[in-house]
Symmetry: C2
Subunit: 354 residues, 2 copies
Amino acid sequence: MTDSITPLDDIAFSFQDRLAQVLAEGRQRSRGGSPQYGQLWESLTRMATGGKLIRPRLLMDAHRSLGGGDQAAAVDAACAMQLLHIALVIHDDVIDNDTVRRGEANISGEFASDAMRRSAGRREAQAWGNATALLGGDLMLTLAHSLLARLDVDDAKRRAILDIFDDTVFQSAAGEHSDVWLSLHLEEARSQEVLEMAGQKTAVYSFQAPLLIAAVLAGANTALAEELAAIAVQIGVVYQLRDDVLGLFGDEQVTGKSNFSDLREGKETLLIAFARSDPSWADVQHLFGDRMLSTADGHRLRKVVEESGALVFVESIISERCEGLYRFIRESTLPPALRHQLIELTSECNRRTA
Amino acid sequence: MTDSITPLDDIAFSFQDRLAQVLAEGRQRSRGGSPQYGQLWESLTRMATGGKLIRPRLLMDAHRSLGGGDQAAAVDAACAMQLLHIALVIHDDVIDNDTVRRGEANISGEFASDAMRRSAGRREAQAWGNATALLGGDLMLTLAHSLLARLDVDDAKRRAILDIFDDTVFQSAAGEHSDVWLSLHLEEARSQEVLEMAGQKTAVYSFQAPLLIAAVLAGANTALAEELAAIAVQIGVVYQLRDDVLGLFGDEQVTGKSNFSDLREGKETLLIAFARSDPSWADVQHLFGDRMLSTADGHRLRKVVEESGALVFVESIISERCEGLYRFIRESTLPPALRHQLIELTSECNRRTA
């Protein structure tokens, strides 16, 4: 029985190198199996090593700013954050039945197309794509757990990090579950609920977990960890509100998704919660959540949202939240370098176009 | 931040008590969230604590027979085996689009029915059921990892156990992936491939992992671990071949599933691989994998399988494998009590009716 994961000896490794290494080990082990399983590991590698790597970067930067010296452990924890992100994104796509992400075929889409090229029926091919993605998510989740379980730090720190990670999976699943539930529209969603759901689904794993794990690794005190947790939740809200605005009013070429897909899904956002209170909503309500929504009706629905004042309202909330955050971060006890990073991060979450 | 999982202090705890405890902690934490998330944890608890608990029992028994003295660690590892089983079963049902297991609604079925009672459309309700099950599987997989990452044993043992567990998830996913691929029928399945897939999908996690983890905990030597691994794979083959026979010729009242569901799925088994070589297969081939297969055609297809001699052939293979296993176990260097247990287990896997 060989080690599943080679321990990290060279502390000069960047997290990108380490990520590439643990994924290469997975690909290597998959070579004994079917060509399809090997292909899955290739796709997982492409997904996990691409993108902006926001979460692992945040963990690495925060760890350094907090004066942490355990570079090897920070690298492995940063990789675990990225792998968890990929696992959640993949499973989110399965849940939403999406075959495209950021303008390219995702795992479901890629494997379904391959099967159809080999003359499988559409329905069977889609099932195959979804099955492959579901298993791919399980593999990425397992790899994230594996890295953290093997962290070479003292017992108390490892347990504290495992607690944060488990809690993160628990919250992310709860947030995703609420998201799907709200999109069924069996009960009316209140704005507060929509914001909480978004925080649970995205902010906890994207911002809170990387910051809290960095704090544990750097040996930061409890007060500081609590400040970081509060900031993380607020950054998450800004991130999510911007996401909702981009989903409806973004540049499709940049976001890589249709401006009508959230409307077709019936996604409950603060924009929609606001628009619902406008009298003109009654005329278009039946279009919201219609999976067959035409482009003309999409424009009509979006116009009602915009003219209800929802866009102006949500933009004002975003500005308010950002201002509050900048103040909170400036007045915090965090080290100056970290305050600077978090202000930058907030600003990026606000200004992003994709 | 409180501990996600209370450490196990009382070593007199049975694994059933411990399983109930870690699941109760999950339910407790879910109370702050949506009623639906709480309901998911209730369903997960019912699933995880029910059934025959074959895997945790095997681990506990093997650990004792091998003279292992670390009862607390064995209990936690046994729970992890059961939780992994539940995670895999849940995700397998999502992949197969099943809503019933052993005659009762599974998580997808339960949540879909609830949503339909609350007047959701069938399609939306099914998507909700599948999303809930997918997340439930993620939660069970995470809980299994959590228990093992916190095992209070020396570092070398914990790492050895983590390696076994990670390898188990890797193999199970590979087996499941092959299973779905073979059921697409884009290439002809060879008997050897079908048997290997079944071993990977079921035997590794059901028999090999519990036995190998028990061996590590009990400090068994490598030669003994290798004997156990070889025996586990063989037991797995017997288990799977019996499964295939029951799937087609079992008592539906006892198995809790239709004798035609494997045929409708187009499940590649040794029975089918044998029947394919019979001239009469050509007449019924078009029925195999037909999701709309009628009862009359189901009987017709099953008759061809039986009359091809496939049933007699597979039964003879099962007998042969059992005899070989009994001999191998008797001649092994395992302690007598463990030899006895493994002979019993083999016999149960062969004689079972569900």
